[in-house]
């Protein structure tokens, strides 16, 4: 078997194991709830029967490991359970399936994150590589200073700065990104400009700094100096010698920052009242709606793990040293 295949399979298995433990942690969060949480959800007036029926629905009469396999089996089939909200003491159940709550919002979040990624990834790579090539120039220093400052800003500060200037003082873009399933694509993009711009500013700063560091690290290696001393042109040094080894760090940087986007999206969605999964999670945390929180946490964590796994695999596949085994 090709050694690369072996390494990739090893990484995939490792990712699966991580995913298993993460799902275990997310599942066991229910275990730590105080014993009387059924009353908190159903109300003080809940009858014995209602409470018993609710506990049976949650499977609290079964041992924990059976419940875990029930839960993860259902999740694998796309059934995330039912929300805690909409239940009443009298036993009338108006709760909605978590999947119906999550699915449309997940699409919205992916749209927003995708919009930010399409702009920020190429921009950050160009800024990072040029800053590394002309390091310690005025250009490099100013890009560095600006990005260090934006990194230090909380997301909501950037968001409100943009709202203040681009929505309030000079109303160019709307400050509320209230889209729904009927919104046309053009209108949707127009409404998402400010949230996407906020995310872009945050991501570009991180990504650019990491790209710059990776490239500088690479340019310092002896084989690059050798190729320069051979008298190769600058373009050839970069295209033929530096880039093949740079793909791995660049892929890591991109994946790491897309994973960061997953977290940044929560605050930005709340600022712009964007109907995405981040806002859903914050609302669910406020009302202590555990099934929804679990579903959102599982989605966020899975995305995060998959992105990091992809970066790992790209790093392995593009590594010239592994491509030519001895």
């Amino acid at each position: 078997m090709h050694p690369i295949l072996g390494t990739i399979i090893q990484r995939l298995l490792l990712g699966l194991v991580t995913l298993f433990f993460v799902s275990l942690i997310i599942f066991s969060s229910v275990e730590f709830l105080p014993g009387d949480f059924t009353q908190a959800i159903l109300g003080q007036a809940a009858t014995e029967d209602t409470v018993a029926a609710f506990r049976a629905e949650l499977g609290l009469d079964k041992p924990a490991y059976i419940r875990y396999f029930d839960w993860i089996g259902a999740v694998a089939q796309g059934d995330l359970g039912y929300s805690f909200s909409g239940r009443s003491a009298s036993g009338i159940d108006r709760s909605r399936a978590v999947v119906d709550l999550v699915a449309p919002r997940l699409g919205n979040t992916l749209f927003l994150a995708g919009m930010a990624a399409i702009v920020s990834v190429p921009l950050a790579l160009v800024l990072g590589i040029t800053a590394a090539l002309y390091r310690n120039s005025f250009y490099d220093r100013s890009v560095n200073a600006v990005t260090l400052t934006t990194i230090s800003f909380p997301e909501f500060f950037l968001a409100y700065l943009l709202i203040l200037f681009l929505a309030s003082l000079w109303p160019v873009f709307p400050s509320l990104a209230n889209v729904n399933s009927e919104t046309e694509l053009i209108d949707r993009i127009y409404k998402c400009v400010l949230p996407a711009l906020t995310l872009t500013l945050v991501i570009v700063a991180h990504m650019m700094r990491m790209t710059r560091a990776a490239i500088i690290n690479l340019l310092a290696s002896p084989y690059i100096e050798m190729s320069q001393l051979k008298g190769l042109s600058k373009a050839k040094v970069i295209m033929r010698h530096a880039l093949p080894n740079a793909w791995a760090p660049i892929a890591t940087v991109i994946a790491f920052n897309l994973a960061y986007l997953v977290v940044g999206v929560v605050v930005v969605e709340v600022v712009f009242v964007y109907p995405g999964i981040g806002q859903l999670m914050v609302d669910a945390v406020t009302t202590r709606d555990i099934p929804v929180v679990q579903a959102c946490a599982l989605i966020f964590a899975t995305t995060y793990i998959l992105l990091n796994l992809t970066a790992d695999i790209i790093g392995i596949v593009t590594n010239p040293r592994l491509l030519h085994p001895r």
Binding site: F32, L33, P154, E155, Y160, T286, A301
Partner: protein, 306 residues
């Protein structure tokens, strides 16, 4: 009149006892060479600390004192006006410095106590304990921090104590990784082996043999972790899940007054009201980052030039 000869003797100079500089002298020398950004950072941090410590003396009104005029304009009795239920924003800003910085500092200290000691133990003992702790930390770090914090806050509710513990535990994973990786190379040194042979206990080896040698990266990490924790707590408070009212806090102040931004065209000062606490958060993190940057520059001797 005879000139006293300026006799120079190499032997005398070599014979002199070389005095070690105290850390105060080193600090003075380094401060003279410090760049403007570091000076800026240090001064900002000093001002914040001063305000945080003397908050009750500086604030013109009480932290949760409610006045009849809600949304009062700037100037007059209220420097930055009042908020939606008539609390003085300037006073709340000052108290907010105390609460926000205090809670972030307590969280960072706790996370260093947990992560640092576990990291040292893992590095010294090695073997299965090291493996177990490291793999456990790997799994914890596979979940994004803010998401994990949100999940735990759902279960334990958001009180200040649970906020501090949850974020400290989550953040200690990064401290653990750094401490472990820098002390692994120190653990194999001869003087650590000598201490072990002398029969010193684990606590002594941790504090007296290893800790002094890994201090610089840990101090720099402390600054970075502090600003990260500070931003996380501000974000959680902004989402309404962190520090709860009536405790004054910058993150929730932004949230409470955010709607005023819409009136920027009619009254710019009203629109700026929510920007002040947000800017206060941003300024402190910028300042800490500048100081950490400078500190890393001195201690590592690295200057980005290869």
């Amino acid at each position: 009149m005879t000139d006293t000869p300026q006799a120079y003797s190499a032997a005398a100079e070599v014979g002199q006892i070389r005095e070690r500089r105290t850390w105060v002298q080193i600090a003075k020398i380094e401060l003279k060479k410090a760049p403007y950004s570091a000076w800026f950072g240090l001064i900002v941090i000093a001002i914040y600390l001063f305000v945080a410590i003397f908050a009750p003396l500086l604030a013109p009104h009480g932290e949760a004192e409610i006045f009849p005029a809600s949304f009062a304009p700037w100037g007059g009795d209220f420097v930055f006006g009042t908020d939606q239920i008539g609390r003085d924003i300037f006073s709340r800003l000052i108290y907010g410095a105390r609460n926000t910085i205090g809670i972030a500092l307590a969280t960072t200290l706790l996370s260093f106590a947990i992560g640092g000691s576990l990291g040292l133990i893992a590095a010294i003992s090695g073997g299965w304990l090291d493996q177990l702790l490291s793999r456990f930390v790997d799994v914890l770090m596979a979940i994004p921090g803010l998401i994990f914090a949100l999940m735990l806050l759902t279960i334990f509710g958001s009180s200040i104590l649970s906020l501090i513990i949850i974020i400290a535990v989550l953040d200690s994973t990064r401290v653990f990784r750094l401490t472990r990786s820098v002390s692994v190379s120190v653990v194999v040194m001869d003087y650590v082996e000598a201490a072990k042979l002398r029969g010193e206990k684990l606590g002594w080896i941790m504090r007296r043999e290893i800790l002094p040698n890994i201090m610089p990266p840990l101090i720099a990490e402390f600054g970075l972790r502090f600003s990260f924790v500070f931003l996380t707590i501000a974000a959680l408070s902004f989402l309404g899940l962190g520090i709860q009212p009536p405790t004054a806090d910058w993150g929730s102040m932004v949230r409470d007054n955010a709607s005023m931004i819409q009136f920027a065209k009619y009254d710019l000062t009203a629109a700026l009201t929510p920007m002040i606490p947000a800017g206060a958060i941003a300024l402190l993190t910028v300042a800490v980052n500048f100081v950490v940057d400078w500190f890393l520059h001195i201690t590592s001797g690295l200057n980005d030039e290869h």
